[in-house]
Amino acid sequence: MKIIVCVKVVLDPEMPASSFKVDAATNKVIPPKGTPPVLNPFDENALEAALRIKESAGASVTVLSLGKNISKAVIRKSLAAGADRLVLLEDDAFEDLDACTTAGLLADAIREIGEYDVIICGREAADTSAGQVGLGIAEILGIPSVSLAGKVEFADNQLKVDRVLAYGTETIGVLLPALVTVGNEAGALRTPGIKAVMEAQKKPLTVWKAADLGFSQPQTRKIGVRKVFQPVHETKCDIVTADTPEEAAVGLARKLREAKVL
């Protein structure tokens, strides 16, 4: 079985909200100092789902990433965790692409890689929250997809995917080749040991430029960005204080009663 996992390197989404700034002139985020890039958390879940299939059914796992100046230190984590191969689509032109262009380029690269049975993506990227690149790839490649997976298994010659619904789950059977997008319910990416991290540093990377994919100039964007802004919500918190936590709690309840909230 051949699995391809699409992974994006993003600004750490867990940065403190107070350090987050947008440049109003360019509509771009000003990366806060000391906030390192990380693997998109849902893509880590996607990789973990792939590694679990590799363990149970046997598979090779190719990780595919697209961007400008992709942090090698960050992306190599996927090799350390157990991926077999890393293909980077890296070019100065690959900056600020919309979801349609991104999905198109990834689909081109997947065709170039050639054989695959399963493509796994995170349900959305932590920065753009576009939430459509994975499903877009499936549509371009003309293969079935299952989104928002909490568990992915290969059994009885098909992929069995548990989709997390609003109130429950459903198990979807899908014939291969197929694409699956996963959420955090699929489980956290395993932590590689020191030895695996060291070995991952030495593994070769495959790097493709725009020209290798016949991508010479950015296509016309389908999604335009008019403005990026930080919503302001000013609330003043009424902190109830007392000598003990128990008294503070009672004071809080009384206050809510006075304010007719209770």
């Binding site: 999905a103 929250s129 989709r163 109130y167 959420g183 319910e185 918190c237 128990e246 709690a249």
Partner: protein, 332 residues
């Protein structure tokens, strides 16, 4: 582009009823159609759902496309896609709206790519640009730390809309509208997925999204045992229990309890956040609550910037006393 006219809203159903998001989308679509001076159409897809047409009209649609076939009983990407593509081919709308639900999240991107256009997901505001007459779609980015106003440069412009950002229009049962039955020749060979099993969660009490009171626990709760205490408080107030992502990831509570950007969107009258730090991803799902109350031992926790009332305390000490007092107050 000139061929595309009007707004088309996908009306989701659940257990034979119109889902609440459908009425919200109809209200949103109605106002956009009004601004464009064009009509509002709706599409109902499913099995045994034709009876809902009048309700859809009463909620604002001028015309309803109904695709009612046994094969469409369960939502499957490929079959619903065939139905949507057929209806859109017939209706040629400028704007297509779907809910940011499990269905919409799945269907909208594939639909947009199939129509060679684009979708903007999870919109929290929609407007028509007076200059270009195109749809301005506002959505959270960077986990809710920021919002972006985006425009889809091709037609139809597809958007999914978050629940609870638009209020439904009152029912006007005298409203008249056209009903158009659409037969779709669904090719089973093109439906490549199957539902093998479905497990519904037996919900006790009120549903999270509908609850007037939500008591949410975060990572600081530390275990499933703590969530029982939160459930006791929620029960007292006839509310529901929510959770942050780490609490769900640790399986202290069901995944279905997650509140936030990638969880459920709630806007209760009262939201009690216990041992929750207040990340943008979490607040994105609860910030429209009327009153937010925070219990956190860290006075610097970000949740206090969004909360209206709070105490700085260890929840293990504060919560039992709070619950006891609340019980006394609401029963008295």
């Amino acid at each position: 582009m000139a061929d595309y006219q009007g707004v088309l809203v996908h009306c989701e159903t659940s257990e034979g009823k119109l889902a609440s998001i459908a009425a919200e989308l109809l209200a949103a679509g109605k106002s956009l159609a009004g601004e464009l001076g064009q009509e509002l159409s709706a599409v109902l897809i499913g099995s045994d759902i034709a009876g809902l047409s009048q309700e859809v009209i009463s909620r604002g649609a001028d015309r309803v496309y109904v695709v009612d076939q046994p094969l469409l009983k369960d939502y499957l990407t490929d079959s619903y896609l065939q139905a949507m593509v057929k209806v859109i081919g017939q209706a040629a709308p400028r704007i297509v709206l779907l809910g940011q639900t499990h269905l919409g999240r799945d269907l909208a991107p594939r639909l947009a790519f199939r129509l060679n256009t684009a979708a903007v997901m999870d919109c929290v505001a929609l407007a028509i640009d007076p200059a270009t007459r195109r749809l301005l779609m506002t959505k959270p980015v960077y986990g809710g730390n920021a919002q972006a106003i985006q425009v889809c440069e091709s037609d139809p412009q597809v958007a999914t809309v978050r629940s609870k950002v638009v209020s439904p229009l009152p029912m006007d049962s005298g409203r008249q509208g056209g009903v158009i039955n659409v037969a779709v020749d669904i090719d089973p060979a093109l439906v490549r997925t199957r539902v093998l099993a479905r497990k519904a969660e037996t919900s006790t009490g009120v549903k999270l999204e509908d609850a007037a009171v939500v008591v949410t626990g975060g990572r600081g709760i530390g275990g499933a045992e703590g969530f029982k205490q939160l459930a006791e408080l929620a029960g007292t107030l006839n509310g529901a229990v929510g959770a942050t992502r780490p609490a769900c990831d640790n399986q202290w509570i069901s995944d279905n309890a997650q509140v936030g950007l990638t969880g459920k969107i709630v806007s209760p009258n009262l939201y009690i956040a216990v041992a929750v730090s207040g990340s943008s991803q979490h607040l994105s799902g609860c910030s429209s609550s009327k009153v937010i109350v925070a219990i956190n031992k860290d006075p610097e926790a970000n949740i206090f910037k969004s909360a209206h009332y709070g105490i700085v305390a260890d929840w293990k000490k504060a919560l039992p006393a709070f619950t006891a007092k609340v019980k006394e107050l609401v029963s008295g």
